[in-house]
């Protein structure tokens, strides 16, 4: 295919293939899991086949011969597998995984440069070998079934095979007929299919020919151990007609249809209610085409920026309103105030809707991780189960993108450094298979992602030794466990003498930590010797527009993201105690360390009176608490965070700049960074 496709079409192609690959990946993992029982779920297998098939079709349209050949070989092998011509083995699953890996690399490459290609000789040979010697599918006892030609003629080769398989398994083959409202048949059928799948396999769903009125009739070909009465009870539908066409352990003769309701008019019935009349006529507004659109994230960003600007304009109007109230026309000010409040509400709705669109479930991210886990485990000769929870927790798409590499690195580390080899685990009295937990949950405005492995845990003595060797600490330096964990995140630190291929791919944990900090997130470590380690990542749900607490320190104004602020207090100077040279306050029987922002940023206090009242913004991230001491609390405001850019991005303690409504720009504090620095005792930053 030499014709030129537009770059938009190419982008569509890339994102559709990425989507397909996402589900291929998950399905392959499911397929691999079913190796143990030797029988694979036909739906899963067919899903994988369809994925490869779709990619092949698309690749051809874009003239990507390499991709086309690869997906064709995969499809061919999968077709053999789903038609029962190729045996289902570990080697086959491994081949499919390597093929998927190659496919991903190929598409990754093409998304940057459409002329990118890879040497496929090896993988194509592997796929070809695996598909070789396909035994013809066992001839099926289809003839014994009382199915009329009208049905047999519309079954695809694959569906025929499933029919045979069901008969072979000794299941009864039933033909269920029922009719639905044209407006809702798809949902109703989906529900019924779901119910039926619990008790067998839905082989095919066929629309019955006839006049299309307000109703449409379907026949569902169903293989199951249930008998007619069982199905009637299961589905509990008035208009259900069941015919058993054969099969069954004892190859029972077809039973008489049982009447669960009126049988006469399956194919087509006239509209029988006002609701139907409404649906029967085709107004163009009812036109049902695909209900999803795919949007470039840049467009959403632009939209978000515009919303941000609107929010700022609204603040300016509110500001003018305040001035009008105190100096001008009171009545006009009241009216403007009302209008502004309505505008504010609508803007909030708009903002929320745009935010919602940006939100995607972390499941998308976790899908990618399943593949990493498998690959690393295979390469290391380790056995690993991945336990995923909270996959539907939502995060901003951009955060998902940016957290993907750090998360991958953490998971590689967990398997590479954390989990022991099977024999080592056995002798430690643990199950051979290691467990990696990947859990996500939402806590307020944050999402917490927890990576836990049940391996050997972090060897603190070893960490210390290494840090000494690397001269990161001095020989007699006393370190708490937590301080030891912090060493892991120092540049250039690695506890393995030989950097393994997987974990040591150019990045250290310091990069991981910086990447997470750049997202205003933080990472914490916990470990128990012999029981495993946990890395907990806390991330804000979004970065685009945030509510911020505006504070004044000396004569400067700063913004603190409100999602980190737990409460604000006014304290007298004598409420401050000093413990181990650190200033603290007592708050509900807990000790909260203080950080004086004026000192932190090297600002001269405007009011030198030591007894003056101070304000404290108590901030918290994950389990840590700290009080930021400021001079004034100026109130809450929506701010749009803008990055400081590469030139200034390194400034510690500052996450970015924000515009306020009155065209002023202020700095937004990096709460996680400040807390970490302060807890480590380096509370003097230079700005």
């Amino acid at each position: 295919m030499a014709d030129k496709r537009s770059s938009q079409a190419l982008r569509d192609f890339i994102s559709e293939t990425e989507e397909i690959i996402g589900s291929l990946n998950l399905d392959l993992v499911r397929l691999a899991d079913s190796l143990d029982c030797g029988d694979c779920d036909p739906d899963v297998l067919n899903g994988i086949f369809r994925g490869a098939h779709s990619i092949k079709g698309l690749a051809g349209m874009f003239g990507f011969d390499d991709l086309s050949r690869l997906s064709h070989s995969m499809e061919n092998l999968l077709d053999g597998l789903r038609l029962g011509k190729v045996p289902f083995t570990q080697a086959l699953v491994d081949t499919l995984f390597s093929a998927l890996d190659t496919l991903i690399r190929l598409i990754d490459g093409k998304s940057g440069d459409e002329h990118f290609t890879l040497d496929l000789t090896g993988i194509l040979a592997q796929l070809g070998e695996a598909a070789e010697g396909q035994a013809p599918a066992a001839g099926g006892p289809l003839a014994g079934l009382e199915l009329d030609a009208g049905i047999l003629n519309v079954l695809t080769e694959y569906e025929e095979h499933r029919l045979v398989e069901n008969v072979r398994k000794g299941r009864r083959i039933h033909l269920l007929r029922m009719s639905f409202d044209l407006a809702s048949f798809d949902q109703e059928l989906a529900e019924i299919t779901q119910q039926l799948k619990q008790h067998g396999e839905v082989i095919s769903t066929l629309p019955s020919a006839g006049e299309l009125g307000a109703r449409i009739a379907f026949q569902v070909l169903f293989g199951s151990d249930l008998d007619q009465a069982g199905i009637a009870v299961l589905l509990d539908r008035e208009d259900l007609d069941i015919r058993t066409c054969g099969g069954g352990v004892n190859a029972r003769p077809p039973e008489e249809p049982i009447a669960a309701g009126p049988l006469a008019e399956f194919a087509v019935t006239e509209p029988d209610g006002p609701a139907d009349a409404e649906n029967g006529e085709g107004g163009s507004s009812l036109r049902s085409i695909s209900r999803t659109v795919r949007v470039d994230i840049d467009k959403l960003d632009l939209l978000m920026n515009i919303v941000g600007e609107l929010v700022l304009s609204k603040s300016s109007i509110a500001d003018i309103n305040d001035r009008l109230k105190s100096s001008g026309d009171k009545a006009l000010a009241t009216e403007l105030g009302k209008a502004t409040r309505i505008l504010e509400r609508r803007l909030q709705e708009l903002q929320k809707s745009v935010m919602d669109v940006r939100m995607v479930p972390v499941g998308q991210l976790f899908e990618k991780m399943t593949r990493i886990v498998r690959r690393v485990a295979n390469e290391q000769g380790k056995k690993v189960d991945l336990d995923i929870r909270g996959a539907d927790t939502e995060l901003d798409k951009l955060i998902i993108e940016d957290i993907s590499d750090p998360l991958m690195h953490i998971i590689r580390n967990a398997i590479d450094h954390g989990l022991e080899l099977p024999e080592e685990r056995r002798s430690a009295g643990k199950p051979e298979k290691g467990l990696v937990r990947l859990w996500a949950s939402q806590k307020g405005n944050h999402v917490v992602i927890e990576v836990h492995d049940d391996g050997r845990g972090i060897d603190l003595a070893k960490v210390r030794r290494k840090a000494l060797e690397k001269k990161l600490i001095s020989a007699n330096q006393a370190l708490t466990d937590e301080e030891c964990y912090d060493l892991l995140f120092m540049p250039g630190f690695s506890t393995r003498d030989d950097v393994s291929d997987m974990s040591g791919r150019g990045v250290g944990m310091d990069v991981v930590k910086n990447n997470i900090a750049a997202l205003s997130g933080m990472i914490e470590v916990d470990s128990r010797p012999g029981q495993g380690a946990t890395m907990t990542i806390t991330l804000p749900i979004t970065l685009a527009i945030i509510k911020a607490l505006i504070v004044q320190v000396a004569d400067r104004t700063y913004a603190i993201p409100i999602n980190s602020v737990l409460e604000t207090l006014m304290i007298e100077a004598d409420a401050i105690d000093t413990v181990e040279k650190r200033e603290v306050i007592e708050l509900r029987r807990a000790t909260v360390p203080l950080l004086r922002l004026d000192q932190t940023f090297g600002l001269a206090a405007t009011d030198q009176n030591p007894d003056r009242r101070l304000f404290v913004a108590v901030v918290g991230l994950a389990e840590k608490r700290m009080g930021f001491v400021v001079d004034e609390l100026l109130g809450q405001q929506d701010v749009v965070i803008k990055s400081l850019g590469k030139a200034l991005g390194f400034i510690r303690g500052i996450a970015g700049a924000a515009e306020l409504g009155n065209q002023k720009t202020i700095l937004v504090l990096d709460v996680a960074g400040l807390m970490n620095e302060a807890l480590r005792g380096e509370s003097s930053l230079n700005v």
Partner: protein
């Protein structure tokens, strides 16, 4: 009035390619269905002059759609093209036997599709 073409195809990219190929002809309107069910729902609402369907779709397969269309008095004579990846020879034969007018193999060149459409609509 412009003649209308229904496209049943579950791949968004493929659907867009077909739509843009038809749009380039200038004379026809298109209605899109992302699966067989949507096609079934669109049929009675839209007066369709030509139907293009894929075979491998997630809910009902293209063969079933062809059979349904040919078994329905209203659409018995509506030209119907199957566009599918070269797959099972038997599926292809079944499609034609059920009354599809033509079977176009993916990947196809835009002018192949355009020529077929003209053949059945002009």
């Amino acid at each position: 009035m412009a003649k209308k073409i229904l496209i049943a195809e579950d791949s968004l990219t493929m659907r867009s390619l077909i739509v843009s190929t038809i749009a380039a002809m200038g004379d026809y309107e298109t209605v899109e269905a992302a699966n067989g069910f949507e096609a079934l729902r669109l049929l009675p609402r839209e007066k369709v002059d030509l139907i293009i369907t894929d075979i491998n779709m997630p809910d009902i397969n293209g063969l079933e759609l062809v059979s349904f269309i040919r078994g329905n008095d209203n659409y018995r004579d509506t030209p119907l093209l199957i566009i599918s990846t070269e797959g099972s020879e038997r599926d292809r034969a079944k499609g034609m036997a059920l009354g599809a007018n033509a079977y176009l193999v993916k990947p196809f060149a835009p002018d192949q599709l355009q020529q077929l459409i003209r053949e059945y609509l002009d």
